[in-house]
């Protein structure tokens, strides 16, 4: 899902080896990525990494790490060095009920340049939007800590009594106004909806660093070209995901040559060193590899493949690097064994067991009906199932008879599920006024209606004929003929239906069930559709008819 962009030269620099675009194309498959292109002029490579549970790949550093493993340039879990730092974050108990978790680290010793800022922002955005569920679960901030006085305080603050200058703004605003007026405030205010107090990061001088997870301060809350000292912070509602953000950034900055320093996070009830780089174990069995891939591998082969994928393997236990939180089941590790073995090298087998194919009974019946309609000279049409109430009811001169409506539709044109088919045919006729007559059309398809707390789904067929001699008899003949083909007969009762001309509309009853309307279309309806040619039509319930035919 997330597409990342990076410079080819940078990737080569991080790997320490020249590789071609063709190689990158192939290598991206190992990360379940789709190579999307390379622009020679800007040296930009684009790759879409589809696995939403592998956010470490949404950075060029992470992709370079993967490649080094595949190429055998780095075996097992990549080493990371992080020294104990003299930095503290104090978590106040006021914030715990809103957004309880925070993870931090410091990075220094190198100057930040324009390209690195872009890469950090890209990773931050992809991570927060997708994995962080649009910042609700995780949000990330970067600061230049030379402007800060430690310890940093994480607390909940009254929206009206705290003021600061948000990024890209010039004057101080209170928290409530920032949510109402700042573009980021408007975009993310939904996360804080219903909160009495808002999460806030300040330094020890009570200088505001960030209104979490909305916007940083214009004074402390940004990284600029030439900065050497960075403080990373991630907050959120899920401890593991917040820590994962810190781990992924820590690995990326380590690989860029920064010195990393841990931060002590003091929760009201405990202390924690951040980030948590714990390596976890997963037990796998050789049979599981055989079960999933049909591969019989030796212990040494398994170890080799796992090391390529940057795991480690000892005593049937796989050690998982801290930036991999996608391992829920042993199969998740075994898939990586298969990937590193090479999907293309795994032998193909044919399915051996004979099974009889078959089509659904109702679809068999529907196909017979369609065949008859075609034989009667009718052109089949197929329409979108999504439509709107104007076409279903207003144009058809009837009241809503129970509609499945979409809660948050994208376009009014497609805002409900069709409740009957005839409006589709009227739409077809209205779009073809210039085309030669007679126009005879039919559509078979599903319709849905709402009856109280129930949703009803039916297969129906609608048939319409339009020419200057079209009349009721024509439709009655078609209905009679279709029924006769299945050994059925109908009684017709006079009906009231405002889509049809009064006195020229019938309701067909087969074996006591009302299965169809048929008649001449009301001139009011014709005019609504802009039609000048008479139309006769019927709509028949095939689900009901099918039941009758099956029961016989």
């Amino acid at each position: 899902m997330p597409t990342i962009t990076f410079s080819l030269k940078d990737l080569q620099h991080l790997i320490g080896k020249k590789i071609t675009i063709e190689e990158i194309h192939e290598l991206s498959h190992y990360g379940k990525g789709d190579f999307e292109g390379y622009d020679e002029e800007s040296d930009e490579v684009k790759i879409d990494f589809g696995d939403t549970n592998l956010p470490y790949l949404w950075s060029v550093e992470g992709f370079a790490r993967l490649i080094k493993g595949i190429l055998g340039m780095q075996k097992g879990i990549p080493k990371i060095k992080i020294s104990k730092g003299d930095y503290q974050v104090v978590v106040d108990k006021s914030v715990v009920k809103y957004r309880p978790f925070i993870s931090c680290f410091a990075a220094k010793g190198k100057k930040v340049d324009d390209y690195l800022i872009k890469q950090l922002v890209q990773l931050q955005e992809k991570f927060c939007e997708t994995y962080g569920r649009r910042r609700q679960k995780v949000s990330i901030g970067l600061y230049s800590y030379s402007r800060l006085k430690f310890p940093v305080h994480y607390k909940a603050a009254d929206p009206l009594s705290v003021e600061f200058v948000p990024l890209e703004f010039k004057s101080k605003m209170n928290l409530k106004d920032i949510l109402a007026e700042h573009p980021k405030g408007k975009e993310y205010s939904w996360i804080l909806e219903g909160f009495e107090k808002y999460p806030l990061l300040t330094d020890d001088k009570n200088e505001v660093m960030s209104l979490v997870p909305i916007i940083n301060s214009n004074f402390t809350g940004k990284i600029e070209i030439g900065d050497e000292n960075m403080l990373f912070e991630a907050t959120g509602t899920d401890d593991e995901a917040v820590n994962l953000a810190a781990v992924i950034f820590a690995y990326a900055l380590h690989e860029r040559g920064f010195e990393l320093h841990s931060v002590e996070v003091r929760y009201p009830d405990r202390k924690k060193t951040s980030p948590d780089l714990e390596i976890k174990d997963v037990a796998i069995k050789n049979e599981q590899i055989k079960y999933l891939f049909g591969l019989e591998l030796k212990e040494s082969e398994i170890k080799h493949l796992l090391e390529k994928a940057q795991f480690e393997f000892e005593n049937q236990k796989v050690k998982v690097p801290p930036y991999r939180k996608d391992i829920l089941h042993p199969y998740d590790v075994i898939e990586d064994i298969g990937i590193m073995y090479g999907f293309d090298k795994i032998k193909e087998s044919q399915l051996q067991t004979f099974t009889a194919g078959s089509i659904l009974r109702i679809n068999e019946f529907i196909d017979k009906i369609r065949e008859i309609a075609v034989g009667l000279g009718y052109q089949e049409v197929m329409s979108p199932i999504l439509t709107n109430k104007d076409l279903l009811y207003k144009n058809m001169n009837v009241d809503d008879f129970g509609t499945i409506e979409i809660d948050d539709y994208m376009s009014e044109t497609y805002s409900v599920v069709r409740s009957w088919l005839l409006p589709n045919l009227m739409e077809v006729l209205s779009r073809n006024k210039h085309v030669s007559f007679p126009q005879k059309v039919f559509e078979e398809g599903l319709v849905n209606t709402r009856k109280g707390d129930d949703v009803k789904e039916w297969s129906r067929i609608a048939v319409a004929s339009s020419h200057d001699n079209s009349n009721y008899t024509e439709m009655k003949q078609i209905l009679d003929y279709i029924l006769k083909c299945f050994g059925l007969k109908c009684d017709i009762e006079e009906a009231e239906h405002n889509s049809f001309i009064e006195g020229r509309v019938g309701r067909a009853i087969v074996k006591g069930k009302k299965v169809a309307y048929l008649g001449e279309i009301n001139p009011v309806v014709l005019t609504n559709w802009g039609l000048e040619m008479p139309v006769v039509a019927l709509e028949l319930n095939l689900s009901e008819l099918f039941e009758m035919v099956e029961r016989k």
Partner: protein, 506 residues
């Protein structure tokens, strides 16, 4: 064609026209002589021309003919002549006007014309008095050349006029609506060499035109010949009742799956979060489950008919992995939300229902061509309402090697290629997951579909035990567009009747 056969192929109006062509060539004359209407003559000539009997010539000509006033003046005489006749010796204007009934405009024209012809003299006093000259008298006696011209047999070709006539025409053209000169098509027909040969043939007027029931009953056709028809003739097009183009394609896809041993499965359009996503082990907080990825419906909000024991298993799978050896997603599963109604977003919902169904057969192969809905703008490459083709193969002992074999079979079946690439992919509910690329003979490498083996966290809660389930989906829209020669995806659901009637049957 032989001349004899040719003679037998002429229809009645062709015969009529042909017989006069020896003597007449102009369209006008042919009409007069045959007594046929102009369309009949034209059609007959065209047919004859198709048979190489005549050559029709069309010329653009300037034709002179009388206009509205010209017809009047032909009947009543030119106004200047009537004016001059009213002047016996000398007369004032009001007298002339009374005698001739000419309009004041006509009188003014007459005054000007006659003065320039030196036919009158004008005295201006209290009233204008006009007297006739000798030349005037001469004109009256010998006639006005313009009036003479009006009596010609119109229409006449401009180029056929002599000098004198041209002078008359020029002077009349300066006046209102007397004569007009128009561009016109002159049609004439000349016999070709074949036509001339045909003249020598006996043209039988007794050929049978139409075979009728009475002709058969009475044996009246015996001893007579049927007129030969031009069997190579172009005829007006017709259209038939037929299946919709995309639906026909989908019908064929369905037949292919049946031939490969797959049973059709289904599910409702109005689905639940449960069958559409939760049962597929997609966590409720998953990015693909944002409100804006699918269409939730207003009312009824919640389904009442979920199998609650299966819901319980799925809840456990999400929260702690059920008894699959998985950690699960480790969050509190929202049971109310799982009942939420939405429009089906993926055909995999049908597979989930099948796995939980008492009708499931193991070993078994299943497929669905399922209508699905996505929160998308409708444009040339996107629909918010489309078909997905999905399926499963359930059997003990199957693994990724069989999945590869299955994918190759699909590639061969749907793209007629055996060149395929199977690369790692990602789906929340399969592990391993793979994407299938096929080298299409025309489209080069295309992504044909996605596949994998369902995760135990999905299979076990639905089925009660772990069995290998190979799952796959094929991007059928793109194949359909290619096969049907369609560039805009909306045309799969076209409402254009001309297009529907004339779409190629493939």
């Amino acid at each position: 064609m032989e001349i004899k056969k040719l003679a037998e192929s002429l229809n009645p109006s062709e015969r009529k026209v042909f017989k006069v062509l020896d003597n007449f060539s102009s369209f006008h004359d042919i009409m007069k002589v045959t007594g046929l209407k102009d369309v009949e003559v034209m059609r007959a000539l065209q047919w004859l021309q198709n048979k190489n009997v005549v050559k029709i010539e069309e010329k653009q000509k300037e034709l002179v003919s009388l206009d509205e006033n010209g017809h009047n003046y032909l009947k009543y005489g030119l106004p200047e002549k009537r004016f001059l006749e009213a002047v016996e010796k000398s007369e004032n204007i009001s007298g002339i006007s009374k005698k001739t009934n000419l309009s004041s405009e006509e009188i003014a024209i007459s005054l000007g014309t006659l003065k320039s012809k030196n036919a009158i003299e004008i005295e201006k006093g209290k009233e204008i008095v006009v007297s006739i000259t000798e030349h005037g008298k001469h004109l009256l006696k010998h006639g006005f050349p313009e009036e003479q011209f009006l009596k010609e047999n119109f229409p006449r070709e401009l180029s056929s006029l002599n000098e004198e006539e041209k002078l008359a025409l020029d002077s009349l053209r300066k006046r209102k609506k007397i004569v007009k000169v128009e561009l016109s098509k002159i049609i004439s027909a000349e016999l070709t060499d074949i036509g001339k040969k045909l003249l020598k043939e006996n043209i039988d007027d007794n050929l049978i035109e139409k075979i009728t029931p009475s002709l058969i009953k009475t044996n009246a056709w015996k001893g007579k010949k049927f007129r030969r028809f031009d069997v190579k003739i172009n005829v007006p097009s017709i259209f038939a009742g037929r299946k919709q183009h995309y639906r026909r394609f989908l019908d064929e896809v369905r037949q292919k799956f049946i031939a490969l041993g797959f049973k059709e499965m289904t599910g409702p359009l109005v689905e639940t979060d449960f069958w559409d996503m939760d049962s597929l082990f997609m966590p409720q907080f998953h990015a693909a489950r944002d409100i804006h990825q699918g269409y939730y419906i207003k009312e009824p909000k919640y389904a009442k008919d979920l199998p609650e024991n299966v819901v319980k298993n799925v809840k456990a799978a999400h929260e702690n992995g059920f008894n699959t050896g998985s950690k699960g997603w480790r969050y509190e599963f929202d049971v109310k939300r799982t009942h939420r109604h939405m429009l089906r977003t993926q055909g995999t919902a049908c597979s989930a229902r099948m796995l939980a169904s008492k009708d499931l057969q193991i070993p078994g192969k299943y497929f669905a061509i399922a209508r699905c809905f996505r929160y998308d703008v409708t444009d040339a490459t996107h629909l918010s309402d489309f078909f997905q083709t999905e399926g499963i193969v359930v059997e003990e002992g199957l693994n990724f090697r069989h999945l590869k074999g299955l994918l190759r079979m699909f590639a061969e079946e749907f793209t007629e290629t055996s060149q395929i690439k199977i690369v790692p992919g990602y789906y929340p509910y399969t592990e391993p997951s793979a994407s299938l690329y096929a080298k299409h003979p025309q489209l080069d490498w295309i992504e044909l579909g996605g596949s994998g083996i369902f995760r135990p966290e999905m299979v076990k809660p639905l089925l009660g035990r772990e069995v290998p389930v190979l799952a796959w989906g094929i991007g059928i829209d793109r194949l359909a567009m290619f096969k049907l020669g369609i560039k805009d995806i909306r045309q799969l659901f076209s409402h254009d009747l001309e297009f529907l009637r004339n779409a190629k049957v493939v």
